[in-house]
Amino acid sequence: MSQNIKVIPRHGSSFKDKLYLPAIYDGVKVTFKHLFKNLNDSNAVDTLEYPEEQPTDITSRYRGLHRLTHRPDASIACVACFMCATACPADCIFIEATARKDGHDEKMPKTFFIDTLECVFCGYCVEACPCDAIRMDTGIFSLTGNNREDFVLGKEQLLANKGAFGEEICSARN
Amino acid sequence: MLEISIFSILAMFMLGGSIAMISNKQTLFSAFGFLVAMIGLAGMFALLDSRFLALAQIMVSVGAVVVLSMLTILTINAKEENMPHEPNKFKWIIVSSILVTPFTLLLYKTLSSVHQNFSEMETVSSKVVGKLLFSEWVLPFEIVSILLLTAMVGAIVIARKSDKTSKEQS
């Protein structure tokens, strides 16, 4: 037990430490080195020049803007089970269900709104969905608009969003 | 003409500042009045072409006295309701200023003849003042410093808790 104890010497008691100026000199040396290096070649600074340079490190696990997936025959995969709306902690999903006539299932959403201004991008809707109908794999990280209504995405907009990492089609049900 | 107008403006500043200082109930505004009066006084010195005195006035009165008194105001945090109630303050001010008028006239009479005893000097540089202060006027200078020392010792004695009160408190 005793040999595991490592005694760390206390700093600040020697004359040089108490003088404080050598420490400041060392510190200024470090900051000046950084300043000079970056002044000499500012393009080497690891900064993303954002609007012109787009981020390249968005992975498939990144939770971007939502999309609604399609079945192989291009019809909507969602069955309006309200699982996502129930799981949503921000209460930002508004679904209105209607009877489904295209022979796949009984229900489909008549309207499907996501208020992205309220959305916290937690991904619970994706987890909750039993038929892989909602995903957040578009890789879109910035949504812009001129008024509040622009941020409430409807069914058509969500269906139009493309996945950025393949798997265009819903995998759960056919 | 220009000199007289500047003089009257400065005098108005000084009078207004002094009146604001004694008549205001909020301590900080009193301090501001004092500040204005002191800057006016410095302006007077500058008007007399005595630049060193003007700057020394600003340095000592504004830089030290006003700042320290304002620090005290900040620390004691005196509320307006804790101040003494003075209903007839302005009456008293007017009565007392009428009462001291004869003395003021006397003082004016005495002081207005003083400048004849001094030789006319041009711009007083700081070097001349320093040389005079440490050669001809060294004794008065030192006596004034003893006065300051006495004042300081007195302040410390007043501020120090006596043994009796400290025992009572403990």
């Binding site: 100026l21 400041i24 510190g27 200024v28 470090v30 900051t31 000046f32 950084h34 300043l35 970056n38 002044l39 000499n40 070649d41 500012s42 393009n43 600074v45 690891d46 900064t47 020049e49 012109e52 340079e53 | 909020q26 900080l28 505004f29 501001f32 500040l35 630049r51 060193f52 700057l55 020394a56 600003i58 340095m59 504004v62 830089g63 030290a64 006003v66 700042v67 320290l68 304002m70 620090l71 105001i73 900040l74 620390t75 540089s125 700081s126």
Partner: protein, 431 residues
């Protein structure tokens, strides 16, 4: 008063006002850019007027416009003394601005036997002026903090003012040591004293003649200007923004600009008192006047070299990475600035050739040397401002009690001891 005296007075006053006021946006920009570069990021570099971004300095002007156009807002709990609440930042700003005015930007010009000072206020007791006027600035802080009727403001004002008052003593005592050494209270004469040499080879700058007093002066001036590591007046985590908490828009900007002007003034005082002011080491004004042609030729060699380095640096750094699609007009800006710089260099060279070989006018030489000294002064000023900024991003803050302890227990006795030693040495030398 002759015509030349009036012209010189007006020009130097304009120069002083310009140097004090125009450096504010430059300093704000410099602070943000240097902070960025020290921390391996870029800082503001996008704002531009017609594609000219000048490294981002336009950002500060945009900020000024924003602050000017912002709504003037008064907290509703401020009942009495609204005028003093508004006046307080102006006191601080005006004091900082006025304190700068006594700094000489160049050696006195001698025209027709008349010695004309190149400083905004032609006074021969600049040190007194600086100490007297800069002491007023703290009054604005106290008034603002008290009238805000806010605990944070009051505490911030109390902390700021008590720190300034405690550091006024070591500052005054260290300046006193310099006054004893230089035997003058005139900034210009101080600079003239520093143009000699010391031990035969060192420039007799204050920092080499009086190292202890120089360090105390620098440390106390850091405290006087409320710069890091002495930022006790404001602290996000403790007292929000200190005395500025209730201030908005232009009233806040007054305090903010006052801080930068005070920093600029402190830099100017430091370089004037301990770094040889407007002079380059080893070379006094008389030496420049006597060997004017040598000076002109060496300047003719040095200026193109500096400009070449600058242009190369600009061409390298005023670009974007190859991965970026558009360069936002940087290429055009670089081209125009290169042409402007080369044109100005050619102009300077032509003037220098004319002065060195074609004319023999003493007045023209005098003016050229004055301009040169102003340039040296500005360069030194900016270098010391960058030093102020670098220190801010290097050193962590002091706790409040540590600040007071440093001031009263260490700096004050050291300054007293230094005066004692200085007096003994000066008397001993003069015996």
């Amino acid at each position: 008063m002759s015509t030349s005296a009036i012209v010189i007075a007006i020009i130097s006053f304009a120069l002083g006002a310009l140097l004090a006021l125009l450096t504010i946006p430059v300093l704000v920009w410099l602070e943000r850019r240097v902070a960025g570069l020290v921390q391996d990021r870029l800082g503001p570099n996008r704002t531009n007027i017609g594609g000219f971004r000048l490294g981002g300095v336009v950002q500060s002007f945009a900020d000024v416009v924003k602050l000017l156009l912002k709504e003037e807002y008064y907290p509703s709990h401020i009942k009495s003394g609204k005028w003093l609440f508004m006046l307080a930042p102006i006191i601080t700003f005006a004091a900082a601005l006025l304190a700068f005015m006594a700094i000489p930007f160049a050696d006195s010009m001698i025209i027709d036997g008349e010695s004309l000072r190149i400083s905004a206020l032609p006074i021969d007791f600049g040190v007194f002026w600086y100490m007297a006027i800069s002491a007023i600035g703290v009054l604005g802080v106290i008034f603002g903090g008290w009238l805000s009727h806010n605990k944070y403001s009051l505490l911030g004002a109390a902390r700021a003012s008590s720190m300034v008052v405690s550091y006024e003593l070591p500052l005054g005592l260290s300046i006193l040591a310099f006054i004893i050494t230089y035997d003058t209270v005139d900034f210009n004469a101080m600079v003239a004293w520093q143009s000699g040499t010391f031990f035969g080879f060192l420039p007799s700058w204050g920092i080499l003649v009086q190292p202890l007093a120089a360090i105390i002066l620098i440390v106390s001036l850091f405290a006087e200007t409320n710069r890091n590591p002495f930022t006790v007046a404001e602290g996000e985590s403790e007292i929000v923004a200190g005395f500025m908490t209730e201030y908005t828009a232009m009233k806040f900007a007054m305090y903010f600009m006052g801080e930068y002007v005070a920093m600029n003034t402190a830099s100017a005082v430091i370089i004037t008192m301990i770094f040889g002011g407007y002079q380059i080491p080893w070379v006094s004004t008389e030496m420049l006047l006597e060997n004017f042609s040598t000076f002109a030729v060496s300047l003719m060699v040095v200026v193109p070299i500096i400009v070449t380095i600058l242009i190369r640096w600009m061409r390298k750094n005023n670009t974007v990475r190859p991965t970026v699609s558009t360069d936002g007009g940087r290429d055009f800006e670089t081209k125009v600035l290169t042409i402007v710089m080369i044109g100005m260099t050619l102009l300077v060279e032509a003037i220098l050739i004319y002065l060195a070989f074609l004319t023999d006018s003493a007045l023209a030489n005098n003016i050229a040397i004055t301009l040169f000294q102003i340039v040296v002064f500005v360069v030194k000023l900016m270098m010391f401002n960058i030093f102020f900024i670098l220190i801010r991003w290097t050193v962590p803050r002091f706790r409040y009690d540590q600040v007071q302890k440093l001031g009263w227990y260490y700096l004050l006795p050291l300054a007293l001891l230094n005066i004692f030693i200085t007096a003994i040495v000066v008397v001993g030398v003069n015996l």
